[in-house]
């Protein structure tokens, strides 16, 4: 028997399955009689649907059903409301929320919006019929830019929402910030765009719906990150059936990063189609469709201002943002450019005053919802860019200016001016460790070596401080089998992060049982009564603590059984290393023996029944945690071509207690890669006039490839434990997206500082870098 503890880099349970081709992703599932659905999507950014002539398509071979907005209206299905944590405008009135149906009812408002569903015996038949479907559109003017959408005279998306205005938002001390700006020695201001990107999980979205006419129950197998919340939407809001009638399962999910969080329209459409056809209905997005219809993220235009004293001490930070969210509020769309980006403004720096305000606009684009970080990467980037800009324009050393303004441990705990509860951390220490790791002593020689080749070299360091998010509650259930098996059921959801390993690791360590005995169940509304799914780096913080809580409830029950078996007082029983021990007599009994006894009435104390160790518990977070750290990058820039190479990258992260360093490394590396993608390569671009998506394939939207990345060096700081949760974890999933973009972009600016370049908008493509150099000269 192998025992594994918390903190060990256990190899993953799930890998055998994935490495041998035995993973079960949504498109790997087939059912008897299964038929195929294809979504017909709007080719226009904004158009009235005048008529859909479905008869000839219906007559094509194999076609079973065509669903249009007219059908949807006739059936009386409900809309999908936003669950944004920010629901009100500054004046206290509710945000403007247009009705979001599973498909466009009479007007399409973005290229790719579902307009009809075609169901046929085979996928090819459905594709052919979808192409033949005759839809008469009346094109309208479109607006894709959120600033233009809010301007007078812009095309109007919704009759009853004037000015395409969703909401405005503010946080912080407006007057105090204004006063600090008024009395500061220096004020710098910079317009910063946070480029619109999309998650691109390598598995596209897809689902299979089945319906049983006898029980009137639905089954939805869905490549989703959040079965419980989305069941509530599909059952309660759309189909108007009790939640129990919809069994929602997520099989193996091939990446998500936020893009699979939402309740999309397509699963609702195929649930209906399954009932209408009496057949299981499969729908799988093509990659091109995913670019059109997956949620996008970031996409914020901000003016960021920093007030400083003569000696470089920060006085105040003020950010004003405009964010577009597409034509609907989607699931939590309004939150990211409002509360999401506001909370972590200012990062780990000591700002006496801060103020954040934003306006959120509807546009004729794909919906916006969370993408890895959902506001925190934007806040981190805005903060770090304005600090860097201040250093360059006012003549401070960028490293020193940061170092001198970090919050110090003696300032903690504290509430930031944005209301964030910072309980723990040692920002200067993490900063210094990052600097030490990055071989500053050898830097000058590396700059010289680059210069020999005609290449500029630059360095930047980017401390960040973010926070967790997502559902505050999580369920963990543990069932013991008579055959020695242990089943752990949790309502959070892995889309690749390795919960099948990290969660049993916690349980096995706490109970002192063999890790390999634990079978893990997730992503199933019938397996857990509640579940918060995936998002906000919440799994270990909320789910992991639920597992810990379940384990502690089990050992408490175990103590009673052990006391009974050892003829001891329950109070004298201690549990450690998988054994219950009477501290007075020295007698002990192993956890395995207690588990065995728990099935036998004769060996149990009164009031305990066989199977009594089975446990289900709900853990609720009281307050979100504060992951933080420091990233640094060294880049080479070729001034002749504008090409940027990230040569070296360092990260020191404070995620609290590290449960499995192997998996934590994976989170950092993957997050940094996505951060590098946003910084250098990725951008969603719509044509301003037509509203067509110009980056609608992997040939146009550049993802980082293996040779775009350097070998990263990663370390953890575990000496500032948090008491916000019993495991002492802070969350790891989104740090890379907060740290990497500012480190990389500021390193490029450092490299080009001698050329006079002060700012380049992401992504830093060779063309933009080259143009920046050319215009600075």
């Amino acid at each position: 028997m192998e025992k594994f503890g918390i903190g060990q880099g256990i190899r993953r349970h799930e890998d055998f399955r994935f490495l041998s081709g035995k993973g079960t992703y949504i498109d790997d599932i087939t059912h008897d009689g299964m038929v195929h659905a294809v979504v017909v999507r709007s080719p226009h950014a904004h158009a009235k649907i005048v008529a859909i002539e479905a008869q000839s398509a219906m007559a094509m071979p194999g076609v079973l059903l065509i669903v249009t907005g007219e059908d949807w209206t006739r059936e009386g299905f409900g809309t999908m409301p936003t669950k944004s944590a920010v629901q009100k405008k500054i004046d206290g009135t509710p945000l403007n929320q247009p009705p979001r149906h599973a498909l466009a009812i009479d007007t399409a408002r973005y290229v790719g919006e579902p307009v009809a569903l075609v169901v046929a015996e085979t996928e090819m038949q459905a594709v052919d019929a979808a192409e033949a479907l005759d839809i008469d559109y009346d094109e309208l003017d479109a607006v894709v830019d959120p600033v233009k959408a809010l301007a007078p005279g812009a095309p109007q998306l919704w009759d009853d929402i004037p000015g395409n205005f969703c909401l405005d938002f503010e946080l912080g001390d407006k007057d105090g910030t204004q006063a600090a700006f008024a009395s500061a020695d220096h004020v710098v201001s910079l317009a910063i765009e946070n480029n619109r990107v999309t998650a691109v999980p390598l598995e596209t979205r897809g689902a299979i719906a089945s319906y049983d006419p006898e029980t009137e129950n639905y089954l939805l197998e869905n490549a989703t990150q959040n079965v419980h919340a989305n069941r509530a939407t599909f059952a309660g809001d759309v189909l108007n059936i009790p939640e129990e009638q919809l069994h929602h399962i997520a099989p193996d999910v091939g990446g998500g990063f936020g893009a699979k969080n939402s309740a999309y329209g397509e699963p609702a459409l195929i649930l209906y189609a399954a009932k209408r056809t009496g057949r299981p209905v499969k729908w799988i997005n093509q990659r091109g469709e995913s670019f059109l219809s997956d949620t996008h993220g970031r996409g914020q235009l901000s003016t960021v201002e920093l007030a400083l004293d003569k000696d470089g001490t920060f006085r105040a930070l003020r950010t004003s943002t405009i964010g577009g969210i597409g034509c609907y509020c989607w699931t939590v769309g309004p939150f990211t450019p409002s509360g999401g980006a506001a909370r972590t403004q200012g990062g780990p720096y000591n700002f006496p005053a801060m103020y954040y305000s934003s306006k959120v606009a509807f546009t004729n684009t794909a919906p916006m919802d969370p993408y890895r970080g959902a506001g925190r990467p934007e806040a981190s980037f805005q903060t770090e860019r304005i600090i860097d800009y201040a250093a360059r324009t006012l003549g401070f050393d960028p490293v020193e200016l940061r170092r001198r303004n970090l919050m110090t441990p003696d300032m903690l705990p504290r509430k930031t001016p944005m209301g964030l509860d910072v309980d723990s951390g040692n920002f200067p220490e993490v900063f210094d460790r990052t600097l030490a790791m990055s071989d500053r002593a050898g830097y000058r020689a590396r700059v010289a070596a680059s210069a020999e080749k005609g290449i500029r070299r630059g360095f930047a360091i980017a401390p960040y401080m973010e926070c967790t998010g997502g559902g505050p509650k999580e369920f963990a259930g543990v069932d013991f089998g008579r055959d020695g098996t242990v089943t752990l059921r949790v309502g959070s959801q892995s889309t690749g992060m390795g919960h099948e390993t990290s969660m049993p690791q916690i349980l096995a360590a706490e109970l002192g049982i063999d890790f390999d005995r634990v079978t893990y169940v997730q992503g199933d509304t019938e397996a857990t009564p509640i579940g918060g799914g995936h998002g906000g780096s919440r799994n270990l913080e909320v789910g992991g603590n639920a597992v810990l809580q379940a384990a502690r409830e089990i050992t408490a029950k175990g103590k009673r059984i052990a006391a009974h078996l050892l003829n001891s007082n329950e109070d004298d029983i201690d549990f450690a290393d998988g054994a219950f021990k009477d501290v007075k007599t020295g007698q002990s009994i192993a956890m395995d023996d207690v588990i065995e006894a728990s099935f036998e009435t004769g060996r149990l104390p009164e009031a305990m029944d066989p199977g009594c160790l089975d446990t289900g518990t709900v853990y609720e977070r009281e307050i979100i945690t504060i992951p933080n750290g420091c990233h640094a990058a060294e880049v080479e820039v070729d001034p002749e071509t504008g090409a940027v190479r990230v040569e070296r990258f360092w990260a020191v992260d404070d995620f609290g207690k590290i449960i499995n360093p192997l998996l934590a490394d994976g989170q950092v590396m993957g997050g940094v890669a996505q951060g590098l993608g946003q910084a250098l390569l990725e951008e969603i671009v719509y044509d301003e006039d037509s509203g067509q998506l110009l980056t609608g394939s992997l040939m146009d939207y550049a993802l980082p490839r293996a040779d775009d990345l350097p070998e990263m060096k990663i370390a953890y700081f575990e000496d500032a434990p948090t008491a916000k949760n019993p495991l002492g974890v802070k969350g790891a999933g989104e740090a890379g997206c907060c740290g990497a973009p500012p480190a990389i972009v500021n390193a490029v600016i450092d490299a080009l500082a001698p050329d006079g370049v002060r700012h380049i908008e992401m992504p830093l493509t060779p063309e933009k870098v080259w143009r920046a150099i050319a215009s600075a000269r």
Partner: protein, 155 residues
């Protein structure tokens, strides 16, 4: 529909193939070999890489009909007698996969890279894997795994 005959994972198979069916779809739907994934529609992502007559091929770049008479190996055929291939072992050991969706293509590509160049350095691995996208790992652990897998394959 025409029928094609080929060898898949060491076994002769015959099956009907639609004239416009891609090899990737044929393997998944006609033969039930769902370990070969489909991640894009432009042959960019590499999750469908298999071996055709010993070469690493994106199976979405071939029609099924073009594989008539070919010797095909998919991820399901890589392990032998229940023993994982050294490259599969190396991927697990180095945490070179997260969601697992790119993994079959990544492993199949890596096996050919290592076979054709037993002394792969990191640059050669990164260059060799340019046609295989991974959105989870940041590639670093994949590079480490391929380095170790190549060494193990050399024996």
């Amino acid at each position: 529909m025409p029928t094609i005959s080929l060898t898949v994972n060491g076994k002769p198979v015959s099956a009907e193939a639609d004239t416009r069916q891609l090899l990737s779809v044929f393997l998944r739907e006609q033969l039930g070999l769902t370990g070969t994934h489909i991640g894009c529609d432009t042959s960019q992502c590499g999750v469908c890489v298999i071996h055709v007559d010993g070469k690493a091929v994106k199976s979405c770049t071939m029609l099924a009909l073009q594989a008539d008479g070919a010797d095909v190996t998919t991820i399901e055929g890589l392990a032998s007698e229940g023993e994982m291939h050294p490259m599969q072992e190396a991927f697990r050991d180095h945490h070179a996969l997260q969601c697992g969706f790119c993994t079959p293509g990544m492993v199949m590509m890596s096996v050919v890279l290592a076979r054709d160049n037993p002394d792969l350095d990191d640059d050669a691995i990164r260059h060799g894997l340019e046609g295989n996208l991974c959105r989870c790992t940041g590639y670093q652990n994949i590079i480490h795994a391929v380095r170790a897998g190549a060494k193990a394959m050399k024996g």
